[in-house]
Amino acid sequence: MQQINFILSLADANLILSQRNAEWCGHGPVLEQDIAITNITLDLLGQARNFYQYAASLVNQSGNMPGNIATEDSLAYRRTEREFKNILLCELPKGDWAQTVLRQFFYSVFCKGLYTQLLQGQDAQLSAIAEKSLKEVLYHVRWSGEWVMRLGDGTAESNQRMKQALQFLWPYTGEMFMPAGFENNEIDLASIKKQWLSQVRSILEEATLQLPAGNIFMQSGGKKGIHTEHMGFLLAEMQYLQRMYPDANW
């Protein structure tokens, strides 16, 4: 059960961020960047699917849902808000372009560290998913990191917007490194945090932005199913079709 919850937390984070980023589809600042963010969104969705398929197979093996076969779709579309285990960072509104790229940067650098550890883990399936995902994540880090530098070290307005995004998002970064009890003991969140801080600090420096100082209160709860007020609206939109027409098909 613990392992299933861990895999679901990975799947949920990718799915929810994918749903958020998808709001840019057709609304990107320029055509080329519209395609770029949508490509990343599809990468996240693909990663979510891999994790959901694996979680569904484990759920079905466990026999905890007799007569009710779990599938990637049932896990994505039939669970309630309290059952979603994504970190809060992923469900926050997309905001402006600065907020979107900074959130992507924070999340992708975290995934880089996490997947690198999964890759070396005992679970062959997770290791395979991590290997495939890591190639995509490295590009997401590069793309979002360059945008953070571009806007932070850009015009007065872009710098101001990046500062606002940093101030808004920072309190949601701590949850990534807080254990929820379902991580397996191969995952060393403290060492992921150390790598994360070092990469984030160096990019923010390039972007002429200051790492928020002092003891800032960190929001948490997402991993335990306690979400922000934004989550319900996101799920309502995402799950609407399957809720309204259960088992609807193309």
Binding site: V30, E32, Q33, I35, N39
Partner: protein, 122 residues
């Protein structure tokens, strides 16, 4: 009275409404980001071929945009970009004097030699 019947518009002819966001973005965009030509090499050993053009703020962004726009379906293993303003082209008006004179000079094709049987791959 000026009749406002439906006027047939072709792609690219759609008039900008005053103050519309689209027109504003298009103008700001043209002013800020230069145009780049993209060349993609589809396989090792082949040459780079012109794939299209895109807007980007600098070369780094142009290469990444090209990756996202032109290599999504495994089209390439290498990307070149060059700012469009750096490409000089022949004038279409010169086409007659440039290219037509080659029409009746078949002897410029190396097809009048007897090839020995030993020579392969010609």
């Amino acid at each position: 009275m000026n009749h406002q019947f439906i006027k047939k518009l072709y792609y690219g002819d759609i008039p900008d409404e005053p103050g519309s966001g689209a027109a504003y973005i298009a103008k700001a965009d043209t002013a800020a980001w230069p145009l780049w030509e993209v060349f993609i090499r589809s396989k090792r050993g082949l040459d780079h071929k012109h794939a299209g053009s895109l807007k980007a703020a600098d070369a780094t962004m142009a290469i990444e945009n090209a990756r996202d726009v032109y290599t999504r379906r495994q089209e390439g293993v290498s990307i070149w970009v060059v700012e469009s303003k750096n490409i000089h082209a022949s004038n279409p008006d010169d086409a007659e004097s440039f290219f037509d004179p080659a029409e009746d000079k078949v002897y410029r094709h190396p097809s009048f030699y007897e090839l020995p049987d030993e020579v392969k791959h010609m």
